[in-house]
Symmetry: C2
């Protein structure tokens, strides 16, 4: 268990420092003991990333590699597009794909319509690993939420989806 996430990653111990950003108008006072949306999501993200890190490590991958495989499951993008998708610099992609390719997980194919571009896709092995990784990660993340009620999980799922949806199709 690599991640702890026990204490406020961001919270300000200083009491008098209410952020004047968004809190006042929209947000009703969070219940006492509630971390607030910022700390709550920050810590949650560390928790989830920790789990993803474990899963990746079990398969000899990094989180980024695992994510790469996930992205490629239903796509065959160029390096550029891939970089945008993962939020990385294109120069970072070369090495990332290089390593994945060296392990026989992905393949570079020349684009038929653009002589400079390459299209990255999963190999058989890559597909299998992506499948396993996704399944395993799914299990572990669900396990994180195992102590919530089914209703809470459904709500959380719905809220997470709603939040993410606002940033998908930029």
């Amino acid at each position: 268990m690599p991640d702890d996430a026990s204490t406020p990653a961001l919270s300000a111990p200083e009491p008098g420092t209410r952020e004047p950003g968004t809190p006042a108008p929209g947000s009703p006072e969070p219940a006492s003991g509630d971390l607030g949306i910022a700390d709550g999501l920050a810590q949650l993200s560390f928790l989830v990333q920790g789990v993803l890190g474990e899963v990746a490590a079990e398969h000899g991958l990094s989180v980024v590699q695992l994510r790469l495989l996930g992205v490629l499951r239903d796509r065959k993008p160029g390096m550029q597009e891939l970089a945008r998708h993962l939020g990385l610099d294109k120069s970072s992609m070369t090495g990332l794909v290089d390593r994945a390719e060296r392990r026989g997980l992905v393949r570079r194919a020349p684009s038929p319509r653009d002589g400079r571009a390459v299209l990255v896709s999963l190999t058989e092995d890559g597909h299998a690993l992506a499948r396993e990784g996704a399944a395993e990660a799914g299990h572990r993340i669900r396990a994180l939420a195992a102590h919530l009620t089914g209703d809470q999980r459904a709500r959380l799922s719905s809220l997470a989806t709603a939040l993410v949806a606002g940033h998908s199709a930029l």
Copy 2:
């Protein structure tokens, strides 16, 4: 905007592959369009980590460094404890603290009660940066949720807190 998170990080394009883990019994069928708890949280975590990465970068830090500062805001732990807290190997801590110390953000002091141990604490600069970073990160994360209703944010905050709470005091 480093992170996209537009598509399922984990989802299985294959339809016939229902995970036999937790889905059947407890989880009511997620609404159509819902990512599900696993993908939802995974993507959410990438989104949040992306934002944290931006904030850190703006201050010339990495996410880990930023988190380090956050942890030290209300603590003065030894290397060991720090490592456990961040989910890192203790050998990783040396370099992490080294770099932060080199930038004048943290300080190593010998433990009064244990001749081998050192206590890590924030310097003035470190404290200031931690404060700024936390504030900025708070803003940006709240901005992520800006398109939700106040009610949704409150619920999300509460659910995130509840989920995290189950893993804080291991």
